[in-house]
Amino acid sequence: MADRPHKAHRPAQSGAKADKKDKGKEKQQGFNEKAFAPKSGRRADRQGRRNIERDQTRLHVPLVNRTPDNEPPPVIVAIVGPPGVGKSTLLKSLVRRYTKQTLNEVKGPVTVVSGKKRRLTFIECNNDLNSMIDIGKIADLVLLMIDGSFGFEMVNSIILPPETFEFLNILQSHGFPKVIGVLTHLDLVKKAATLSSTKKALKKRFWTEIYAGAKLFYLSGVLNGRYPDTEVMNLSRFISVMKFRPLVWRNTHPYLLADRLEDLTPREQIRQSNKKCDRTVTLYGYTRGTHLRPSSSVHVPGVGDLHIKSVTLLSDPCPLPDADSEKRRKLSEKKKLLIHAPMSDVGGVVYDKDAVWVNVPGSFTRGNGDVPQGEGEQMVMDLQDVDATLEDSVAQSHIRLFGSSSNHLMVDPSRNEVLHEDEDLEGDDNEEGSNEESDPDEDEDEDDDGMNDNSEEPQINDRADRSGQDVEYADSDSDLGDDFHDNRIPDEDDEEDDIPSDEGSDSGDEDEEDAPRWKLNLASQAHDSFQLHSRKNRQKDWMKLIYSSSLTPSQILQDEKAANHEDDEADDDDDDFFKLQKGSILDDEHIDMTKDILTTDDLKAWGDEEMLDSIRGLFITGSHDAAEGEATAADDEHEDLEGGDFEDLEADTTNAEAEPSRPSLNGNPESSGASALAAKKEALKRKFDEQYDDPDSSKLDFYETQKDEISRQLQLNRAEFEGVDAESRALVEGYRPGSYVRIELADVPCEMIEHFDPTYPIIVGGLLPAEERFGYIQVRIKRHRWYTKTLKTNDPLIFSLGWRRFQSVPIYSLDDHSIRMRMLKYTPEHMHCYATFYGPVAAPNTGFCAFNSLAGESPGFRVSATGVVLDIDRSTKIVKKLKLIGVPYKIFKNTAFIKDMFTSALEVAKFEGANIRTVSGIRGQVKKALPKPDGSYRATFEDKVLMSDIIFLRAWYSIQPRKFYNPVTSLLLSDKSHWARMRLTGQVRRDEGLKTPLNVNSTYKSVDRPARRFNTLKVPKKLQATLPYASKPKLMKPQRRQTYMQKRAVLLEPEEKKAIALLQQIRALRKDQVVRRKEKQNERKEVHRKKAEKEEAKKTEKEKEKRKDYMRVAGQKSKREADLEEGRGGKRRRT
């Protein structure tokens, strides 16, 4: 019976049960409306309200996100935590997860591709406060690492290291990026119950600090020097779906996290100056925030304000997967290996300060031919075979640009080497770019003048292709352009007159040493497109004329107004032109005026009826056809020429209302006009339908309209420069966020290179025009509640404001009844106050935090204050109270003469009419100086003052903050964490052994107030007699005799006596009872006390033991940490 197998369950195939089952399945599929329908009206109401409220929480202030959607810059993931918590291990694990590579040593940022649309830049933050501040300003996502094992025995009072909280406060004042907490060392907690309670407590603490619901990850022990793969994978998944809200500061400033640094200073110069000359440095990185303008100033935190010498766009070293790999569902293995970490040793390649080192551990060596080699490896191996430099080989080779040309390509020896390097780097890009740009133009050129036969076309393209690879691109383009013109322009002879030949402009550019190369290229391009349009009425390339030619404005306009302004040469350039004899007649013409002088002759044409009729089309009453006809008259001829850049431009224009009116470029005018009209009608009809059907739907709420507006503008931003080539695009809009650029900085202090340490982040923060200025900054400030000391006016404070970290001397103040800003000696407790200091300007509403010391060894919480900028000005109005004291020396009725307040009549004159007051509150006024004692004056009061009164004059004395600005140049130090700041006053005194100066008048002395004795009032007898009774002094002698009440005797009745005796007895009994009771109670108390004492002793014993235990654990831990510190190189936690 027992071994017989059970019958398998057979579900019912039919009947009620089967029906029921199917029904249930059906239900689960869709959303069951009934299940969530409210039962009562009230409930429905509540639910509705809740929904609306929930919708409102979804809304945020619409902010423009300036980071482009396609090709965004890598997300900066900063890993922050105290030493020994496992930052490097986590970074290595994450890098391993994305690239399948193990890094030995992590230095500087590491960029990896994490997905189809996302790249990540990991950076580890060291324990220096300066680094934490800088990282906090740029990190998009912070992995905040917390040691879970630390203090796990005292679960109820979890102690996080102060650096963690300092970092959170820094984040808060500079815009809060996303934070994910990562708990490590949880494997050290052995007991399951303790573990869960630790997690719980830490989560609670973390949530109060960040926000309820902030993500917290738990990482257990280390395996093979990494965290468990599954846990890291979970973390990486969270990172990859993270969404980022734009932060205001980063959305208004361009910035860059440098992942590579090179020194371009000539070696010889460094040698001659004994390594002390200013350096020319290039920094590499992805631009972030807004567009980086080449001409802007930048601030490198820790170094100072620097000027960008040049910006070069480089090819992306870590590109996102492109279109063909996009087709595949998964990321291919090859792409996954993409990693860009120039400062670390990745793949055996180390980018050093000034060189690139290739490590050859054996993978690139010959011999193992059976191993399939990648393209890169092959290239490196080929490099080993090369015995001549590229220059030599090019010089030796005979490359011909055209099949037909007889001269082969020559290498210009004077070429700049630096440029050459770049060319190699961005070879691919240029090739594509030049292809795109040159092709259509050339096609048009041919069609245009019909001189070049078709057989030449492939050669031209060939030339363009090669120029990208071999010859420096911009130069070659313009050179060849010249050749072309020389060959085929002769019939268009007027060209040379209008436009300065390219030779001319080139040489002009070369005169200025740093002329950007785009100019050359632009010139040739502009010239090409110019030719396209210089047909009947020549349309100029205004951009070229204005920005890259040295013509004066009048010369540019000259051919249009040739007749008018013949002698109107600009006076800017012709200084040697002697024109004194023309005198003031000339001066009239050169007057700086807004109106153009139109002479009657200019306008004579308007007397003509035909001329008057010609502009009828520009008025609403004018016929539609007239204008259309005029506008599109020349269309027919141009039809075949259309294409290239302009077509792109027009096609991309998304402005809806602009479309209909603009004649379509490709169709003929009639049909285009008709289609435009049809489109317009269609739109109108749709609009009407919408409004008729549902009048409310067309009205968007404020939030929606704002969002629409923002997205429309962003689309326009993208579309406007889509077709423009990269170089002129950089001119107009700068370098887009997400592009990998090389920034060349001049005059960089040599210490930055000498003491370069890749573990300290280098940030290049772009400055807006206003931020280069200096001024007085008024801020709202609050001392941090965890900062133990109070802040004192005129004590230097280190501010982290904008990109900058600097020391300045603030003056604290409070608004006194909106009348004056009154100086405070110290910051108030638990209250905001104002502070004013001198420094570089930052826009109002910028947050900041302040520190007294950035050094690591300073005890306690280092963030001393936080606040926000309120106002920028060039002067301040802070006052402090000044009380002038004087005494009366002669008193009349309401007038008194006051001395000792001023020292001269002049001073008195300055204070005439000022309000004064006595201590007792009698108010008065300064009248006029008196001649005799110097500085004495006549004053009137509302009542008679006494000689013993002191007279006050309350005045306000204005003070200015000191003009002190000291940037924190931490990156220039060899020991980066020990920046020597300006010392606080007290510290200086302590160091110098000085005593605090003490004003004698300010010392407190015990006030000696002798009791005033008043003599008795003696009224003469005679006078007393004459006084009326009411005024007579009423003096009475004490009574001599006993009164009746005193001298009477009291006799008791017998029953009274008895009663009293009884009462006495009862009282006595009672007393005795109380005494006995008390005695007994004392006895009981004594017993209890003894018992309690015993217990107390036991308790303290226990406490002692407990503390001992804890200290022992803590000591072990600190010892472990110290060990880790020592063995920095091989710091790997063994579990």
Partner: protein, 365 residues
């Protein structure tokens, strides 16, 4: 301090106003030398010095150094302060000369500006106060500066003796709006102001008549106001002028003006103004030629977005202005023909990336 890189150097007295404005807005120091150094009467003129004084009044912390000969100046700009300011303009230039740069600065002040200027209200060289009120201010309004923007003409003053007075009120903004104005539209109305002071009031009617004789053919919506000031308000010298403006369906404005000249009948003045207006309309674009620099400047000062505007070909001042803007703000414009297919069209589309200029001097709360 670290200002050494921010000094910009110019020579020559031309375009001085724009350069001073750009310097104050960008905060970059500017040095202008060779100011009429070759002239019989070298150095700064009285109106230029007066302008510098006005700028000093409007700003806080501005340092202006003028060389001994007056042929070189160095401007270290402070912040724009605003508030109540009054200024006496010299009789060598009209109020327009002083007001034009102030209009560019005032929106970025700390406090709303209430500026009173006294002098000549209308002359040949600069925009008259009528045009500034009816044309320049609407152009500024395109950029979201509208609430409280006002110009009051208290008294008129003709050259040579002047005696006019105006009051200019301007609010402050945090950031100007991005302009996207590429539809010129068609002219839908024409307005005009004919004023006559200390002459026969019939003069203004005669000007209106003459102007209407030309303009009536185009549209019916023409109102030309006759604005006669009497007594105290009419200034110290006789004079009359006609200012015209044409507004399109998309509120693009074109304007022109003609001022009385001795010995020229008012009809001719009116005809001159009318024909100048037609000339201006023919130039096309969304912005009047005289206001190109104003609009371009505001476009540069916009948020970091693409602003576009369609205008006629640049004038001399505009070309130099574009170059100066590049020196001060590093912003270049993309300038392409508005209708590349139409060879006869001279209209251009100017587009630029705003520099994200924020009014930092404005106080928070």
């Amino acid at each position: 301090m670290a200002h050494s890189g921010s000094l910009i150097h110019f020579s020559g007295h031309q375009y001085l106003r724009n350069r001073l404005v750009l310097s104050i807005l960008s905060g970059k120091h500017v040095r202008v030398d060779k100011i009429r150094s070759e002239d019989k009467n070298p150095g700064l003129r009285d109106f230029e010095i007066s302008l510098l004084r006005l700028l000093e009044k409007v700003t806080n912390g501005t340092i202006i150094e003028i060389s001994v000969t007056g042929t070189a100046i160095l401007l270290k700009p402070g912040i724009i302060l605003g508030g109540p300011v009054s200024h006496e303009c010299p009789l060598s230039r009209s109020i327009g000369y002083f007001l034009e740069p102030i209009i560019m600065l005032a929106p970025f002040a700390k406090k709303p500006l209430q500026l009173t200027l006294r002098g000549i209200t209308t002359d040949d060289h600069d925009l008259s106060v009528d045009l500034i009120r009816t044309v320049s201010l609407p152009h500024v309004q395109l950029f979201g500066i509208s609430d409280g923007l006002e110009l009051r003409i208290k008294k008129r003053g003709s050259p040579p003796s002047g005696g006019g007075e105006i009051q200019f009120l301007c609010p402050v903004v945090k950031q100007v709006k991005t302009l996207n104005f590429i539809e010129p539209g068609k002219i839908k109305r024409i307005r005009g102001i004919a004023h006559a002071v200390r002459v026969n009031p019939q003069f203004s009617n005669r000007m209106i008549e003459a102007s209407r004789s030309v303009l009536n053919r185009y549209i019916p919506d023409i109102y030309l106001y006759s604005d006669v000031y009497k007594g105290e308000e009419s200034g110290k010298s006789p004079g009359y002028a006609l200012s015209l403006l044409a507004e399109s369906t998309t509120s693009a404005i074109h304007c022109s003006e003609a001022v009385s000249q001795p010995g020229v009948p008012p009809e001719d003045i009116a005809l001159h103004a009318t024909r100048a207006l037609l000339d201006e309309i023919k130039q096309g674009g969304c912005v009047d030629r005289k206001h190109q620099t104003l609009v371009l400047l505001m476009m540069v000062l916009g948020s970091e977005d693409v602003g576009r505007c369609r205008m006629g070909p640049p004038t001399l001042r505009t070309i130099q202005f574009l170059r100066d803007v590049k020196d001060f703000f590093g912003t270049s414009f993309k300038i392409v023909p508005a209708e590349p297919s139409d060879a006869s069209s001279t209209e251009l589309v100017y587009s630029c990336y705003g520099s994200g200029y924020d009014n930092v001097s404005r106080r928070l709360a």
